[in-house]
């Protein structure tokens, strides 16, 4: 690996001051599960690293009443093991539990997953259906950006050169919500998604409302499926409604083709995953 400099500030203020001064020449390092393979591939050029892992409390998960606040440095394992997350936003535990392996989940962070901005980042579809908001900070102040607007293209986010992502605020799910996160990969473990579907809706007497659907690994960024969500709105779930939704999402999704899968296969599988998840509610 090429030589590099690692700066390891002990406070967030110090980190933000360094970022304000050095901008893009200073690459944030959280768990390193994307950064270190990237350095090996020579993906970053001549950068120094800004190690965020020494900053206290940046990994905390707290219950703020109506919301859960997750520090950017919380690992996927922290999220999966958090009783607060499990009780109030279980679709996120489910999504983070599918990331890589035990080893990747013990190091990889939710902030790194967002900032890597891969269309296959597993936490993102779940955070998106939950209506989460990213807290971005610079030495000048804090900005908030909805997760749905955070990723611009693969690897590119709304985080500016002087910024750091400090946390994510996630509204609690309503009790009795219907939800799933389903991911299709090459194999069960250690697989980057070919397609994933996150679903969240309120349910009353079998009737769905406030339906939200996000798709991972289908488009260049995680995207929604608003027409399919609208087609399920106010409907009572049954075989006919499910078949209609499956057909609709297969026309609505505009999949990409890449090394992991073809466009046709992705289009087919988006429908299969949605159908599988919705039929699960009937059992």
């Amino acid at each position: 690996m090429r030589t590099l400099e690692v700066l390891a500030p002990e406070t967030l203020e110090e980190a933000l001051a360094l970022k304000a001064h050095h901008g893009t020449a200073l690459l944030p390092l959280a768990g390193g599960t994307d950064v270190i393979p990237g350095i090996r591939r020579g993906a970053y050029g001549a950068v120094a690293l800004l190690d965020l892992s020494r900053i206290p409390d940046l990994n905390r998960i707290v219950d703020d009443g109506t919301e859960i606040r997750i520090g950017a440095l919380a690992t996927h394992a922290d999220v999966v093991e958090s009783a607060i997350v499990g009780a109030h936003i279980p679709v996120l535990s489910e999504a983070c539990g599918t990331v890589g392996s035990v080893q990747i989940r013990s190091r990889g962070t939710i902030g790194g997953n967002l900032c890597h901005a891969s269309p296959a980042s597993d936490s993102v579809p779940a955070l998106r259906v939950l209506g989460s908001v990213c807290e971005i900070r610079s030495s000048k102040g804090t900005r908030e950006i909805p997760v749905g607007d955070f990723c611009i293209s693969p690897g590119v986010t709304r985080v500016l050169p002087a910024d750091l992502l400090v946390g994510i605020r996630v509204p609690k799910m309503r009790p009795g919500s219907r939800w799933f996160y389903l991911k299709l990969g090459q194999r069960r473990a250690m697989a980057i998604a070919k397609v994933s579907v996150a679903f969240l809706a309120a349910e009353d007497g079998g009737v769905l409302s406030d339906v939200r659907i996000s798709l991972g690994a289908v488009a260049p960024t995680v995207c929604g499926a608003p027409r399919t969500a609208a087609c399920l709105e106010g409907k009572k779930l049954g075989e006919t409604v499910i078949s209609e939704a499956v057909e609709m999402i297969q026309t609505e999704a505009k999949p990409i083709a890449d090394i992991r899968s073809t466009e046709e296969y992705r289009r087919e599988m988006v429908g299969v995953l949605l159908g599988r998840g919705l039929r699960g509610f009937l059992e």
Binding site: R2, V6, L29, I39, Q103
Partner: protein
């Protein structure tokens, strides 16, 4: 070339090192400390051969920068035995034929160690999840799962009750 000073505990022993900032924990263990039990396979987090236990969690040593290890507590395969007595996991890997070429074994053992530390009685499914980041080209995994299961608390106490000798 930037050098960082690191203090960390490896297998119960405190070490103070001066490392190049770009060194990975894997290189630090193998090259700086001579602990070559931890294997280098893919070097990008895919194979698990480099798995060690860091602050109680299984991690890929190839994906951790030595600079991030300052203050950490590391356990490697060399630290499993105590005064020449093998860890029950090592005993069971031998007894159940869970080692063929042996390249994946240190990583498998450390993934299993992290699992049993937090969950002394895992189900078969939990064992399979715990080693899902560790590739083995030889055994087909079944013997490894059996060995870990045999080293779990329930099995150990059953074997004890039945008066089985766990050792050689």
């Amino acid at each position: 070339m930037e050098v960082v000073a690191i203090k960390c505990t490896v297998n119960g022993r405190e070490h103070r090192l001066e490392c190049e900032a770009n060194l990975t924990l894997l290189d630090m263990l193998r090259e700086s400390l001579g602990l070559t039990g931890t294997k280098s396979g893919c070097a990008v987090g895919e194979c698990g051969a480099c798995t060690v236990v860091m602050n109680g969690e299984a991690v890929n040593a190839c994906l951790v920068l030595a600079a991030q290890v300052d203050g950490a507590d590391i356990l490697t395969v060399e630290g499993l035995q105590e005064d020449g007595v093998l860890d029950p996991l090592q005993e069971m890997f031998i007894r159940h034929g869970a080692v063929q070429c042996g390249f994946c074994t240190p990583g498998m053992l450390m993934s299993a160690k992290a699992l049993l530390n937090g969950n002394p009685d895992p189900t078969e499914e939990e064992i399979r999840v715990a080693i899902s980041g560790n590739l083995c080209r030889c055994t087909g995994y079944q013997q490894i799962v059996e060995a870990i299961s045999a080293a779990s608390a329930k099995e150990k106490s059953r074997e004890k009750k039945e008066g089985k000798n766990c050792g050689w």
